[in-house]
């Protein structure tokens, strides 16, 4: 608004338009303290204080800030510009003259040093070899002596540079906070419960049957096929469907018995029967919970989280918590609330043990920046980490939003249990000044300005600012805000869809938003709504997806659906996307083949699973908590598959499947069929049968030949493929 009266207009805006100034006292005091600290550090290092111009963009050393009178910008701009040019010229000439003087002095010193060194060290007739000699190394001598102080200076310069870099000077309130030592276990729990400001959202209950929802998925996907003029691939064979369903729901390939049982099921609705058998049957309950606990642990703490000895995460405890949640089919939003609000120790042995704390434990330190980014990507499907330092150029994420979300985690601290020494996650009052309990968070903009943020959810919802735990429990409010949001069920559906199809409605699944529109927005919207209305029932969501038409299609591409190209960003789900098994699926499958073909055994060995997966996945150690995997189709993967311990175990003559086959009295062709079914979930083709027949004819030792065939099957591309 243009001001007609420079004084009255702003005053009216303040009085009537509520454009009032927030209290800057704490913010300025904090910034002042930081400046003082920076100046102190700089002087300790023997260098000039961090120039203010690095953090105060608008103030340079030539600005007449200490003068009582300043020229008017419009009338004296030209004079100022000329004065500036003159100053620059004088400065340039001065620095040139200074450089020349220095050069002369240095030359003199070097000559003097060279002469004195020659006088002391040279034997008559022997000169000092020169660097340009070409045969000998240049002399150390005086140069080494002079070089030492220079090398000593390097870190000093580096450290000084670090201090004066705007980013390095970023406000890190609390980063030096010591780990809280709770006086006793009793203090880990809150004595007073803060009132709740965000009430649970009331949603309609689901009115549609599962069949209707599956039909809805089919219709929605088919309408996109029609619009894109593509035709779906034919249905997958029963063997293919059986293999992929076991892989997706239980994390392993089916046994030969399971395949036969499925194929021989003579009633209608065979596929529905299989899905219900796995999702609802008691016999798969433990295996199902174990696989999905591993899947969700990956989402929460990464594949490498808690795999190394020095990790603060007790992965076993976290997975056990998730196993229980999946066993009792706990609504997903309650699981997420548990994880986000958990307090207590991370490992058993203490009364305060709460396995759900293992989600946040490794992400609280460092002002909970990791916790902010992970919560946002895992439960809100948005990558917000860039906004820690700058406004995101395309997604609309601002620093203010990032730090507003971060403020929800600032009551949370790490502690150690005094009895057991176990690591704990606790909540404490959070405030920066004694005068006020408003727990504000400070952050620095790229231009050096210090800003303040209070708890504010991504949709702009705010809660009372107090950092006093008895008044506001910020994590409780955040958890409720997240599960209440429309984004939460969408993200979950998108992630689950990606699990079953290899590709979500958006790529990647944790970067949703207007900048990355969903491929099937209507379907995503409806499915999310149904999922929320089903009380966040993950099993039902799995059932809808696995019984849908796109899931049951063959992975073979046909000419009519060449346009279906997920790698090119156009996923139409006109076929099942063939892809490599995930690390857990591969481990469980090999483990099962190595041990007992009966159910359950592959999954129980948690320790073994962690140790094997720990070899495959490693943390990158960056600020985005990225990971790297050797299961990338490269040499490491080939070596692991051909020579790894687990593969050796699975192809050993005493391995469960192989031993049963070689020891049985089945005809040779049946034995080969059995091995094919066990490894690839299908019988051999005629061509494969005849080739194997030729091999067997030339090998006198049938058992050894079968072992070789078995090894080849497990090392084939097809084995590792989910298709």
């Amino acid at each position: 608004m243009n001001h007609e009266d420079p004084i009255i207009d702003p005053l009216l805006e303040e009085l009537l338009g509520q454009q009032q100034m927030p209290d800057l006292s704490a913010r300025i005091a904090k910034a002042h303290q930081q400046r003082k600290q920076q100046a102190k550090d700089a002087s300790v290092n023997g260098h000039a204080r961090a120039p203010l111009s690095m953090t105060l963009m608008a103030t340079d050393s030539t600005a007449p800030v200490t003068s009582t009178e300043a020229p008017e910008p419009s009338s004296r701009a030209n004079t100022a510009r000329r004065r500036m040019q003159r100053r620059r010229m004088v400065a340039t000439i001065g620095s040139l003259a200074l450089s020349l003087c220095l050069l002369v002095i240095l030359g003199g010193v070097a000559y003097y040093g060279y002469q004195s060194f020659s006088d002391q060290n040279t034997v008559p007739g022997q000169g000092i070899p020169l660097a340009a000699d070409g045969k000998q190394n240049p002399s150390g001598g005086a140069r080494d002596h002079q070089a030492k102080p220079e090398t000593d200076q390097v870190p000093q310069i580096a450290s000084n540079t670090k201090q004066t870099t705007p980013n390095a000077g970023m406000s890190k309130p609390g980063s030096k906070m010591p780990i809280v030592q709770p006086p006793g276990p009793a203090t880990l729990a809150n004595n007073t419960v803060a009132p709740r400001f965000v009430q649970p959202r009331v949603r309609d209950s689901l009115k549609l049957s599962d069949r209707q929802i599956v039909d809805e998925i089919d219709q929605q996907v088919a309408s996109v096929w029609q619009a894109e003029n593509v035709k779906p691939s034919p249905d997958a064979t029963d063997h293919e469907f059986c293999r992929r369903t076991y892989l997706q729901l239980l994390g392993r390939i089916p046994t030969v018995d399971e395949i036969k049982q499925f194929v021989n099921y003579r009633q209608d609705g065979r596929r529905e029967w299989l899905v219900d058998e796995i999702l609802g049957g008691e016999k798969y309950e433990a295996e199902f919970a174990s696989f999905w606990s591993a899947r969700f642990a990956n989402l929460l703490v990464g594949r490498a989280g808690g795999m190394s000895k020095d990790s603060s995460i007790n992965r076993q405890a976290l997975e056990s918590y998730l196993v229980d949640a999946f066993r009792e089919n706990k609504p997903y939003h309650l699981v997420v609330q548990d994880l986000l609000t958990a307090q207590g120790t991370t490992s058993p042995g203490s009364e305060q043990f709460n396995p759900a704390t293992n989600f946040l434990v490794s992400m609280i330190d460092g002002d909970a920046k990791l916790a902010t980014a992970k919560t946002c990507s895992a439960f809100l499907g948005q990558q917000m980490q860039c906004a820690e330092c700058h406004n995101h150029p395309s997604t609309g994420w601002s620093q203010e939003k990032y730090w507003g979300l971060n403020a929800f985690f600032r009551q949370t601290k790490l502690a150690t249990d005094s009895k057991t020494g176990a690591l704990a996650v606790v909540d404490r009052d959070f405030s920066n000044t004694a005068q006020s309990d408003a727990g504000e968070v400070y952050y620095e903009q790229p231009n050096g300005l210090l800003k303040v943020a209070y708890p504010q959810f991504v949709d702009g919802t705010t809660i009372p600012r107090s950092g006093n735990l008895a008044k506001v429990d910020r994590r409780q409010e955040l958890a409720q805000l997240i599960v209440n949001s429309d984004q939460f069920p969408k993200v979950t559906v998108n992630r689950m869809w990606q699990h079953f199809f290899g590709v979500g409605f958006t790529q990647p699944v944790d970067d949703m938003g207007p900048h990355n529109p969903a491929s099937h927005p209507e379907l995503l919207e409806k499915l999310s709504q149904h999922f929320a209305e089903s009380n966040f029932d993950l099993r039902r969501l799995m059932r809808w997806i696995t019984l849908s038409q796109p899931y049951g299609l063959s992975s073979r591409q046909i000419d009519e659906n060449l346009a279906d190209n997920p790698d090119g960003g156009k996923q139409l789900f006109a076929r099942y996307y063939a892809r490599q098994m995930e690390a857990e699926q591969l481990f469980h499958s090999l483990q099962m083949l190595a041990n007992q073909p009966s159910r359950g055994n592959a999954i129980i060995a948690l320790g073994e699973r962690h140790s094997w997966l720990g070899q495959v996945n490693q943390k990158m150690g960056d600020d985005e908590d990225s990971e790297t995997s050797t299961l990338d189709g490269g040499i490491s993967q080939s070596l692991l598959m051909m020579n790894g311990g687990l593969m050796r175990k699975a192809t050993d003559a005493q391995a469960a499947v192989l031993k049963n086959v070689t020891a049985s009295k089945m005809p040779i062709q049946e034995k080969v069929d059995h091995l094919f079914l066990a490894a690839l979930s299908r019988r051999p083709t005629k061509k494969e049968s005849s080739a194997i027949g030729e091999i067997l004819k030339t090998r006198p030792n049938q058992a050894a030949a079968l072992q070789d065939i078995w090894w080849a099957l497990l090392n084939s591309n097809e084995f590792i493929l989910d298709h």
Partner: protein
Amino acid sequence: MKELPQHESSAVDVTQLVATHQLSVWRYLRSWGCSPQEAEDLTQETFLKVLEKPFEQLTEAATRAYLRTVARNLLIDRRRKEGRQTNIQAVENIDQFWVATDSQKPEQLLEFLTECLDGLTERARMALRMRFEDHKSRTEIAEALDIGEHGAKNLMQRAKQQLRECIEFKLKDES
């Protein structure tokens, strides 16, 4: 360029200093055409700049005058860097106005304004409320008051002039 005296006294209470004077600095910057956010940023910069060196408070009025000078210089410097020009009429009057407020508490100014608003005609008050409270356009105000657009403009200009005079009178009277 005049150098301000550098005081060697002990450090001031930063929080207290800011709490007392932040509003007058912010308002001063607003009167120089800064948006609320920009004024906020520059207020912060002003205090940080002032606190760089030891600083002694002689009188409230002297402190405010000093803060205003630093704030104005920072603003001028920022405008230079941005290559922007802000044309403000009667700069001297602005400074005179703020000098006159030095003896008052910052909150007093809004109280004066409220009192002065009550002294306006009903139509003038309504026009100003629609403009500043409801953010209506001049056309909408004109329609609501059943007058022409120029009429609405004149009405508000006169009202603001009255307000300015009223406040200045009150400031003089109080001092």
